[in-house]
Amino acid sequence: MNDERTLKIREIAKELLSKGEIAVFIGYGKGTYNGKARPIFVRTPEEADKLIFDSTCSNNLVTYLKFPVVRDEGVVGIVVKGCDAKALVGLIRESQLMREQVRIVAVTCEGVVADDGQLQLRCQYCDVANPTFYDFLVGSPVEDQKPRDFSGLLEKYETMSVEERWEFWQSQFEKCIRCYACRQACPLCYCTRCIVEKNQPQWIETSSHLRGNFAWNIIRAFHLAGRCAGCGACEDACPVDIPLMLLNYKLEKEIWDYFHYRVDLDPESVPPFTTFKTDDRGEFIL
């Protein structure tokens, strides 16, 4: 299911590698499971022919950029979709990555599919089908930019009673095996020492038990509040299918309602929890 984007990506990767402009190129290659693409690291121009791009390129490759072992290789070439680009810009915005450290190959994207062949949930809310932050743009412009409106999705839960919501989320968090795949897959969960690994004092219990599972999942979501790129990597990585994007979308919606902030492709935009206004809403405070 290769398309013209594949050839263009190969061409760019070959050129960058042969000129020595980059040390490694991170892109998608043919996978062995379910016809799904997988991430590959390309270090020579010859290997660049392994690169592909199609609608199964669901992974967010930006996640690799949070690891020093990858950045230390030198300048990194990377393929990003719009949602991935938001994460990459997030790393730059938060001073985790220098702009000069990456050569960005952005692709226009009509959406990617999950393992079952269905369009990913996140693609139904995509407002960055045509990325605007890149060194090279691949693919022709995509028509439909969708509104980032999750109210239909969230309504089902928001209209439940408190008890019903509690039951629902307990039944979800109960499944958590604390593998931290959500954290590892997230491009913006980059703390070298995660709060859950701190044990003096131990704020979050590490055993797979509701008490710690609840605290972990809430805090993971909240640490991404106002930062989450909405790439869906956490939910994709979850082996027990906890609907983590519901929490992320809820936070995005509330942050929009309160602060009119939304994660974008501008490295200079100011995230909501790094600033304040003296007249912020505080209707819940006595």
């Binding site: 408190v162 919501r165 704020w203 909240f222 509040a225 929490l247 809820k250 509330e254 809403r281 819940f284």
Partner: protein, 144 residues
């Protein structure tokens, strides 16, 4: 509230800022004002010091209600700590609500060093409210 909960006295954990609310509570004490003894005060330097985990930890350890109180906007000893706290908790409480925590068990307030009377009335109202809600069984069950 069930029969078994008759005579239930709530545990209220209050995270209060050193500079305003703590002094306000102190004023209530030195002024010999009377209020219900259900509140356990934890002094923090500023509401900006509040980590959302403090709230979860309090519930894990058996609190039935959590109060967070600090300086009025503009009065923060550190200039802007309470503004940051207001932003953080505006969103955090929405998240808690979404996962099924009863927001009636969490209260925020601004109480200055001169407002001993406000401290008393906030504690009275909040204690009565949580007492009426009964023990926070839902959270205590997952904390066993």
């Amino acid at each position: 509230m069930s029969e078994a909960d008759q005579g239930f006295e709530p545990h209220i954990v209050a995270f209060i800022c050193n500079w305003c609310t703590y002094a306000g509570a102190d004023l209530a004490g030195t002024s010999r004002m009377q209020y219900q003894p259900n509140v356990r005060v934890i002094r923090i330097p500023c509401t900006g010091r509040m980590d959302p985990l403090f709230v979860l930890k309090a519930f894990e350890r058996g609190a039935d209600g959590v109060l967070i109180s600090g300086c009025h906007p503009g009065d923060c000893h550190y200039g802007e700590g309470n503004y940051h706290a207001r932003r953080k908790f505006a969103i955090f409480r929405k998240l808690l609500e979404f996962v099924g925590i009863d927001l009636a068990r969490i209260q925020f307030s601004w109480i200055s060093a001169a407002e001993g009377g406000k401290w008393v009335s906030v504690i009275e109202d909040f204690t009565n409210r949580v007492r009426a809600l009964g023990p926070y069984r839902a959270y205590q069950e997952i904390s066993l």
